[in-house]
Each structure stands twice: as C-alpha cells, then as structure tokens.
Symmetry: D2
Subunit: 80 residues, 4 copies
C-alpha cells in the first residue's frame, strides 16, 4: 500500500469519526432532555396524586357528616 | 510523513471509530427504552384520568340525587 | 207548701233542665269535633313520618353509593 | 192537678237536673283534657319540624361542600 493510499484512508476515517461523535452529542442531548421530561412528568403525577389524596380525605369527612345527619333523622323519627 | 506513520494513524482512527459507533448504539438503545417508558407512563396517566372523569360524573349524579332528596324534605316541611 | 208554689218550682226546674240538656248537646258536639281533629292530626303525622322514613332510606342509599365512589377513588390511588 | 202530684214532678225534675249537671261536668272535663292533648301534640309537632328544618340546613351545607369538592376534582382533571 502506498503512502497516498494510507493518507486517503486516514482522511476518510477522520471524517467518519467526526460524524459519529457529532451523532453521539445529539443522542446525549436527546437522552438528557427525555430524562428531564420523564422526571418532570413523574413529579406532576405525584403532585396530582397528593391533591387527590387530600380530596379523598375531604370526601371521607363529608360522608361521615352525612352519616351523622342520617343518624339525627333516624333518632328524630324514633323519638317522635 | 512516512507510510508507516499514516498506517499507524489509520489504525488508531479505526479503533476510535469503533468505540464511537458502539457508544452510539448504546445511546440509541437507552433513548428507545426511555421513549417507551414515557409513552407507557402517558398511557397509564390517560387511563387514570379517564377513570377519574367517570368518577366525577358519578359524583355529579350523587350530588343531583341528594339535592332531589333535599327538595323532597323541604316540600314535606312546607306542606305539613 | 201550696200547690201553686209546687207548680212554680216545677216550671223553674223544667226550664233549668232544658238549659242543662242544651249545654250537654253543645259540649258533646265540641267533644266530637275535637276528637275528629285529634284523629285527623295523628293521621297526618303518621303520613308525614312515613314519608320521612322513605327519605331516610333514600339517604342511606346515597351514603352507601358515595362510600362506593370513595372506595373506587381510594383503589385508583393505591393502584396508580 | 193535686199538690202531691206537683211535688212528685218537682222531685223527679230535681233528680234529672242533677244527672244532667253531673254529665255536664264530665263532658267539660273530657273537653279540657282533649284540648290540652291537642295543644301538646301541636307543640311536639312544631318542635319536630324545627328539628327537621335545622337538619335541612345541615343537608344544604353538606351538598354545598360536596359540590365544592366536585369542582376541585374537575379543576384537577382540567389542569393536569
């Protein structure tokens, strides 16, 4: 193989390596962005669920109070 | 530059290119996996929200029925 | 006592008896009317209470259905 | 008519008048008792209705609070 040929192969490889490294950077950027979106989505879900749990407790309270009201009506009907 | 030197550079570049391409494959695999997790998470969230919307409609129904019951009691008290 | 005197007493007593019997009739009429009002009032009360008992059962149903809805929400929150 | 006959009529009337006045007293007693029962029954009914009106207001409050809870759930679903 002549020196010219080796030089030509070297130049071609240098070009391919640059392309591959550029692609790497792009992929790492996309990966990082996706990881942030996933984390942010999980935090939103957790906040949503926390709000729903508060709502569930409020609903429990309302059901308890309606049951008390029902018992008061039952006692009024028994006593009268 | 001698032919030997060009050959040595070529071999080094060939090695670096293989490493970079291997890294590319790994990153593409991680990206694909993350995209699937995000999609799956969004589908779960959507299903969760659909269930909550059904629940909201049921709650609307119960409130409506309690209001009817309340009106019946009010009419009983007016009429008696 | 002379016959005249006895006659006069008899006439006076006849008059008082008529008054007393007339008063009796009035009282019996009032008593009968009051008994009917009391009976009618008790029937209305009983009808009122029957309506309230139906209402109490409806309220029980609504509380039961709200509790089911609450359990569905609790399961959604546990499962998600 | 002889004096004896008048006397006999007078005695008979005196007896009837006493019976009639005794019956009057009995009727007045029954009437008074019935009036008290009716009044007492009306007071009980009024107290019963007052309790029911309080209950109706409590029920209104619970329905209002359930509606607020429902609106919170609706907003959570819209916002998420």
């Amino acid at each position: 193989v002549s020196a010219n040929e080796f030089q030509s192969q070297r130049d071609s490889l240098t070009h391919k390596l640059k392309d591959s490294e550029s692609r790497n950077q792009t992929l790492e950027g996309q990966l990082s962005e996706l990881e942030q979106r996933l984390e942010s989505s999980q935090q939103e879900q957790e906040a949503f669920r926390t709000s729903l749990r508060t709502l569930l407790e409020l609903l429990d309270g309302k059901i308890f109070e309606l049951t008390e009201l029902r018992d008061t009506l039952a006692k009024l009907l028994e006593g009268s």
